[in-house]
Symmetry: C2
Subunit: 259 residues, 2 copies
Amino acid sequence: MLTFVGLGLYDERSVTVAGRDAIRSADRVVAEFYTSKLAGAAIEDLEAAHDTEIEVRDRTGVEQSPGDILDDAADSDVVFCTAGDTMISTTHTDLRLRAHERGIETRVVHGTTAQAAASSLTGLQNYRFGKATTLPFERSHAGDDLPGSVVDTVEGNRDRGLHTLVFLDIDAASDDYMRADRAAARLADAYEDTLGVVVARAGSPDPAVRADRLSTLAGESFGDPLHLLVVPGELHLMERDALAALGGAPDTLLEELVV
Amino acid sequence: MLTFVGLGLYDERSVTVAGRDAIRSADRVVAEFYTSKLAGAAIEDLEAAHDTEIEVRDRTGVEQSPGDILDDAADSDVVFCTAGDTMISTTHTDLRLRAHERGIETRVVHGTTAQAAASSLTGLQNYRFGKATTLPFERSHAGDDLPGSVVDTVEGNRDRGLHTLVFLDIDAASDDYMRADRAAARLADAYEDTLGVVVARAGSPDPAVRADRLSTLAGESFGDPLHLLVVPGELHLMERDALAALGGAPDTLLEELVV
């Protein structure tokens, strides 16, 4: 059996009890931290909390040479874990399908996700979000302007009154995380006076939510990563009240968006 | 302090370790199960697992008379828990803002959500989903046809190549859950030969994923609730492979959607 366990958002206590039990009872535990990391726990913390050895693999070790993982999963219990929810993007679908093809049973123990936490912490309703997008590092994009994919997504959502969650690029291997002030500055090129909402350290014990003009957010600082940014569409009254109370958004800015 | 704890998707082990710790150390634990329930755990199971007394409130008790909860949270640790993630919709934002107004510290311990699990179990990429929608019971809607809100959402997403998550109506108080076969039949009125994906019992030990024409899904049965339905937009190759392998979708149907 190959069990995919989502470790959740922050530290060794962000995993579900079911996920922890799966890790503890596994014959072998493999993890990857190149797609994302737990800001609040090193691998040693996870090993100590779960009283087990955890083998960390790099991208090549997962994508090019998963043979030994599958071999073991064929006749024992192997757990493969990642931050967040392991299967939320298609990154590890390939591994699951390889197991499936070999007749190996697979199971997913879900983890909490940044997408859900962004909605939950801001008071913005989960099903008033449209498609999400990612703002890539300037270096991975030609120039430091705002990529068309981001503008298209924000515009497509705003046309329909929907919120846009903007994931900020992560280079987990070199511990490089785009900060929300930098992201707000880039978005402000196109959306200077538009309301933005910063979510910092979602899932940690000290998350921060801050809502204001993107040009204002560009001049603030939000502490340790991870950061996310939301560009709200239309606001219901409860959403307006939440952004005012929890994010300190100026009333005039909020009122323009209330429907 | 008022801590909102998401209990996650299925039973007493679906909560995070951090959430369990918050419940165990609280001076008072209040829960509501009118917005959603845990299919795999009764209140007694939760009380036994967390070795604490849990006071269940109905909607009136939460929305009209939360005074005693706030009074206690002003000078002791109160936990308010729900299935899923407590703050993902705006249902309980009001309670959080009331606490905030009184200067009571609030905290959110996130839970796993059906929205994330639907993406994770099907292999459909989380940020290729557009706005989600809910298919209401026929009785809460005029007639048994397909509400315009559902059609508009599916169309708006399909126009942009995006997947639509369709939540199926729940009447948790009377244990009434819309089944995916019934939902598929209603959607098939407008989308007979369109690909649909059923997700049953997300987050439980025996989830099911099934992908086929909506008219075909209407004639199948998917066991115990909760059920969800996804109407995919365009498919990437990995998404296609996942729906074929995990959902048994016919190849011809999938190929039409591949970009």
